[in-house]
Symmetry: C2
Subunit: 210 residues, 2 copies
DNA sequence: ACGTGTGAATTAGTTCACAGCT
DNA sequence: AGCTGTGAACTAATTCACACGT
């Protein structure tokens, strides 16, 4: 066990992937797995998985493997998704609508609680179970409800300004869909999703001729 | 210069990020930059940027830095996005609609040319400039048009089946939004987008108490 | 003087291989 | 026998630091 030493970011990055795979196994009715099996499913070496988990404790049994429900429970604790995190969404365009309807957040520990936009045409309109609010209400809303996570789905041209607003309001973590790198003060976490980045990584390896 | 040696994947992963930042700079009317400046914008060390670029050639001038339009041009060549790649999309739900309307593909080297779904209610309906086609037409369409890239935006329960169909049809690269790890034969590239994974990485570092 | 390109040094991450528990 | 947990060995990635061209 290694509960004191700093855990590398790259290890933290893999834990949600393990969790997701384990939840699939659990849904298949499986009770037990091994680092071998999990590794095969994910294309990761068994040693890597064991080493990663060993940063947090001894979750397996020699000769037996890992009890899936237990490991899911431990990973949820580690990632702090054994509870539900409220999130806001800024940007009610096409992507914002898709995120507003997405059913995948709740089972993974997240809940969208409000949606904001700056377009007067959109403000007041319903979107899923929500009503689009004025982006100017973000600071009050965040403070009143103690929101820590924001998703940004606005055009690149507005993203920095929206991010600044979020940070100012006290948001601690941002998931941005805007295709720009945000300037964010230390202490605030940011992650990016940009499909073109992934596509461009793949085209490097492709032959266009054929 | 190092044009022979195998370039690490992790380097390839950063090139699209450099390209994106350079395109922002170009839009700002900038002509020249340095590894220092680019690094500051992206939170990457200047040495890292120089080393990454040096895998592909000597793009800068000592004492001068990099000419932005030239470097953009070279990166586009390297990533093979100095041309346009046709893509298909499978899944015309909320996310599929957002992807169908997304204006960000074209300027980055990609074009969505057809959208498929398996829901008879949806097939034939318009979506953006397209009409939703029957997913059964994927193989013929891919072969006739020589499509190499597919985006998958279907529920997790259908994703593996859809991926198999794509691979069978000759697709060489898949961008999947389904929250499962796909079993894909070697030689076919896959990338995943799953917002919950990013969110769970951030919650690890957050204090929920406060 | 400035800033690249790059070997060398350093740091980080992965895999090996095996002791030890079930 | 099976499979974890983990130091040790190895491999990969990053940063250093400086020669060299502008």
């Amino acid at each position: 066990m290694n509960s004191v030493r700093k855990v590398p970011d790259i290890v933290i990055g893999r834990l949600p992937i393990y969790l997701r795979a384990l939840q699939v196994m659990a849904a298949e009715g499986r009770e037990v797995t091994s680092s071998q099996e999990l590794g095969e499913r994910l294309g990761i070496s068994p040693a890597q998985i064991r080493k990663d988990l060993s940063y947090f404790g001894n979750f397996g049994k020699q000769g037996m493997g890992y009890r899936i429900p237990d490991l899911i429970h431990r990973l949820k604790q580690i990632l702090k998704v054994d509870r539900t995190w409220d999130m806001i969404l800024i940007g009610a365009g096409n992507l914002g609508h898709a995120l507003a309807q997405y059913q995948g957040f709740t089972p993974r520990g997240f809940r969208l609680v409000a949606i904001f936009d700056n377009d007067p045409e959109k403000i007041g309109r319903p979107i899923g179970l929500h009503t689009i609010r004025d982006v100017g209400e973000v600071p009050n809303f965040v403070r009143e409800h103690g929101i820590q996570i924001a998703m940004i789905a606005v055009p690149a041209s507005a993203a920095q300004q929206v991010a600044d607003l979020c940070v100012e309001a006290g948001i601690r973590a941002i998931l941005s869909y805007a295709p720009i790198h945000l300037k964010i003060p230390p202490g605030v976490l940011v992650q990016y999703i940009d499909p073109a980045i992934h596509l461009q990584q793949m085209t490097y390896y492709m032959n266009h001729g054929t």
